[in-house]
Symmetry: D3
Subunit: 127 residues, 6 copies
């Protein structure tokens, strides 16, 4: 459901377990999207889930500036996602899909590829 919403244009989506009336467990789904995608995604949620009601509200969203840097590892190239606030790098992380592909091709643990990509990225700062 989460991945389906992202394919259809949601900016983000996540789920939380909640306790509902009559002691029943439920799931609260939260979806972020551009205002113009609201109706389409509302219809998708009604069609794909068993919910009877959806709440909508306007929110302001601030995001860090993001860019991609490609690093070379012995098992292939991996993109690093770099986030900056006022020009200062605050976060960096290897792209999950790139690492998973290399790990799968080379029969390596995913964690090994992610650690190596991070190491190569941090080494660049040395130059």
């Amino acid at each position: 459901m989460l991945d389906r919403l992202l394919e259809e244009g949601a900016l983000d989506a996540f789920a939380m377990p909640v306790q509902m009336k009559k002691n029943r467990p439920g799931t609260l789904l939260t979806v972020l999207c551009k205002p113009e995608d609201g109706d389409k995604l509302t219809e998708l949620i009604f069609t794909e889930s068993t919910t009877l009601g959806i709440r909508r509200r306007d929110e302001q969203r601030q995001t860090l500036a993001r860019r991609w840097v490609t690093v070379a590892t012995q098992w292939g190239e991996v993109r690093m996602k770099i986030a900056s606030l006022n020009g200062t790098v605050t976060n960096y992380a290897p792209e999950y899909e790139d690492c998973r592909r290399s790990a799968s091709e080379k029969h390596l643990p995913l964690k090994v590829v992610m650690q190596e990509a991070t190491r190569q990225f941090l080494r660049r700062g040395e130059d």
Copy 2:
């Protein structure tokens, strides 16, 4: 608390576990209601819980059209709740209280009654 709020006019209510400051566990209670019920339910929450603060915000709510269909099972009648989007049925579910009553009277598992009511409902589509 959830059931009490629904009795007093809340449209929906659910609870989520949260982690608060100083490493203490807490519960976030969310209540949906019509704007005119806001003050009454706010007072109820302050009176019945130990919270010191309640936040309120306006939200738009979209719901599916709902209707009830009664089906006959060998253990009595059960209402099915039918939800539709633009005229197409998207969800159906036996009413919990109806099934629970039949199950209790006939000493049957609740699940057996719910499955049978659903089966009878789907059979109708055959006619």
Copy 3:
């Protein structure tokens, strides 16, 4: 992170576990603050966490009137936080830090100190 936000002026802060896309666990952080502190706390969250986006919205907040009463226990004074709705006391609780300090000094279980402070507070009503 929660305690850091409260030091910097947040009125409240709490965290909830969420399930994100691609089957990854995450944490949803919620921070309440005065409108004029929004920019400062947004920058703090970007600097201290790995989030790439923060959502903001306006909410109305209603709080109970609060006052402090000091009670004497055999292990020292403890403040009780008293909350009232329309002049009626609805909640009372011993201050965590006061009890923790007494418990630590006297090598007593924290719970014993909290129970005794509550008992002394309720006795006052007898006079």
Copy 4:
């Protein structure tokens, strides 16, 4: 489900939200019972839930000594559950069902009745 299990002899039962394979939310049900009730409760869970498997293990359980004390409030009698460790009272709490009945009969908030019962219990220590 939880209340049903307790009716049938479970010593305790609680539920936890879990994240299952293929990104689906689930609920982990934990039931404590005497060894001789294991088979009966296993069958009940299979009959009433949609689970396909149940795990069982032996555990040692230590409980506090418990006794009941009845206190009089202006709205009727309420039992207090008192727990002791090596002869020292470590916990006390008003019985939920007793308070709920008084609150319902007198149209009072449940919390008011629970607070008053606790107050009357603690006053006894004064004598």
Copy 5:
């Protein structure tokens, strides 16, 4: 991680959010496997996750008898998983992967395919 464990022979795997020391959020991973797969899966978890310790215990596991029934829908065949206790059917559910494939090929909501497969299965009982 969950799907990886199942590929390598785990009988089941699920994750739960936990609150760890120093106010940090964590995830508790539970894996069920045959005794002879314990060492292999322990090594996999150490290699793929950041955990520093794994606990193991023996448990008895009881499962319902399961069989597969294939039903025909207008969009292709779908397997139903049927679970029985002492010869009585207690659960039935359409196979997720079969429905997802049909839904994707025919550009239908997944829920529509799952509902139709269930309806066809229940109709069989009519004959």
Copy 6:
């Protein structure tokens, strides 16, 4: 509570939100300890919490070999915790308390200190 248990000799401790009977939220506390510390910690939990019962079971625990490496950052020394499986490093992480102290002294974000310590550690591998 978690930190208190660790001070008294627990090997690990964590908490999970659970849903209890009568629709009440609760917290499941899990504590790992050596067999000889079981009685002491059981008594501590009974004394400090409101629980009425504690379950105990034996489990096998496997841990990675761990060692400490000290790295120099421009803001002081930070220990890195290195975990290995069969001689291969599988995890490394800067020690939280060391980073927090440097961050507090130099008025830097905690994350900046942790990132720098990790960078210095990975650089060592270059030599």
